[in-house]
Symmetry: C2
Subunit: 320 residues, 2 copies
């Protein structure tokens, strides 16, 4: 089977599979491996100082001749510098998230960069479309890390965004397998963004303890926390329990902010502190069984997709 | 296109579409209309005294010669009597939910009834399978009404349950359209249970004010409330706001129970009190545009399914 649609053509990639740009997981090693495997790899700028990002972009260019991209969370303090580096380094694709799509889209597009914005609701999808982005990622409640306030799930969100906008659409949130790639296309998306599964690949820069904890996770082991601050999906651990207790007795945003402090995501995901760290991961963690190479993940995704397609077609007989 | 699989064969129905048994919405009128349209209609016993249920079953039998069923929430106080009535009236199918599947499955099966249990996690799926049920409904976080504690969404839950059990599987939660039926089959389900869309059909016994409010709902207009008691997805209104405020300041289960009181679902959904009533509905409310007949809903579901299938196939070219 060959997959070909607006998303594969927009990025010039073989499979409509995007590796989500993730803090502390997706440096040049992961991004270039995904691009080499035929997907679109994204460097996650959210956990990099500008000069570190520049090095990762340069390394990525030497490691792959295929298109790759950078994910920029727009609330990042050094975002201006990050954007300039992407332009100077001629990064082919930028995904923006967590902020106004109007801010940099025109600038990035005028530099010849393909721009995609990540949304969790219709309102921002329309804002992004108006700002001139080339495509949208619609990310559901089940996704890891930072998340929307509406809590709309992937199953409901994709048809809603599909109705609201004609832009090429990438589904995200809860997706880790080939049957889910098929389901996303059935819902009207033209590609998927996968985070959690790549976060625990061999090529991810996350700490081995974090990867092992994600592999061990089962259903119900993540929850959406800190809704009074910025909602974030975390693996349950001592820190997440502390947050849950605080929330249960009515803690306000200020108290949650103090509790969170600084550097917890790095501590958990990069340094492997499974007790006090912030362990960002999606509900898909329950579906991930082993630590694999990016190549193995692509092989499994594609064979899973083919099996699911055959199984789907076995339900249907055509009358015409 | 014709759909045929283990679910259509198990129930002897034309389309693998089950109308969820819902309090205050699904009496004999709705259930028989769905069964006449080629799906499986379910009478919702949760809001009926035993004698009322008996009348609804008898009316349903006169209104359709097709298979139909009864949904029994197992925590219902008069559940023993309800089960006896289903057996005496030779109801062909019973869906059980909200309780232990071990309690009545053997009894119901020995009376020749096809038994399906509704689950929101793997643990209960395995319990239900061990108790001898014929099929499972796996219901995600986005579903209306009572819901699981794990908050696993339909996109993640269906592949998890598909891996855990070989039983025929029905997907529920967030599903209201033909493309979502296709996506559910792609995920490995063999049918869908649709609640919200049928709750606002012409044949639903819900109050017209409630139906109109659901039609007007957009994304983010429902939320999962009362997690310290039993999680339930409600439309936002004055009552839901009161609950939210209480929860935000750390109200315990006792206070929530007092706040809920008795009879609020009836008040909201059956009597049309949109301010103080409990308005149970799923995230799919945002996808529902109008009040239609069951026949119109089936027509739209099936044409939407065919369109989505063609669109899906247009992404894929076969190499073999």
């Amino acid at each position: 089977m060959t997959l070909s649609n607006r998303i594969t053509r927009l990025f010039g990639i073989r499979y409509p599979v995007i590796q989500g740009g993730m803090v502390w997981c997706s440096g040049w090693k992961l991004a270039s491996a995904v691009s080499n495997a035929g997907g679109l790899g994204l460097i996650g700028a959210g956990s990099m100082r500008p000069q570190v990002l520049r090095e990762h972009i340069q390394q990525c260019k030497s490691a792959t001749s295929n298109p790759f991209g950078v994910n920029i969370p727009l609330l990042y303090p050094e975002v201006e510098e990050i954007v300039q580096i992407c332009i100077l380094e001629k990064v082919p694709v930028v995904f923006t998230s967590a902020g106004s799509p109007a801010r940099f889209t025109t600038l990035l597009k005028s530099a010849g960069i393909t721009v995609v914005h990540v949304v969790a609701n219709i309102k921002f999808a329309l804002k992004a479309e108006a700002s001139g982005v080339d495509a949208l990622v619609a990310e559901g409640f089940e996704a890891g890390g930072h998340n929307g306030f509406e809590e709309t799930t992937t199953m409901t969100l994709i048809p809603l965004i599909r109705q609201a906008s004609k832009l090429p659409l990438i589904a995200a949130g809860g997706i880790a397998t080939g049957s889910q790639l098929l389901a996303a296309l059935a819902l009207g998306a033209e590609g998927v963004q996968i985070g959690s599964r790549f976060a625990v690949s061999n090529e991810s820069s996350a700490h081995p303890y974090f990867k092992a904890r994600v592999i061990a996770a089962s259903e119900g082991d993540t929850s959406l926390s800190m809704k009074k601050l910025v909602p974030v999906r975390l693996l349950k651990n001592a820190f997440a329990e502390k947050v849950k207790e605080a929330e249960a007795r009515g803690a306000d945003a200020e108290e949650l902010k103090d509790l969170l402090g600084k550097g917890r995501a790095k501590k958990g995901m990069f340094e492997g502190d499974l007790v006090e760290g912030e362990l960002e991961i999606g509900q898909a963690a329950a579906l991930i069984q082993r630590i694999e190479s990016v190549e193995e993940i692509f092989h499994d995704l594609l064979s899973g997709f083919e099996m699911a397609k055959k199984s789907l077609d076995s339900n249907i007989s055509s009358d015409y």
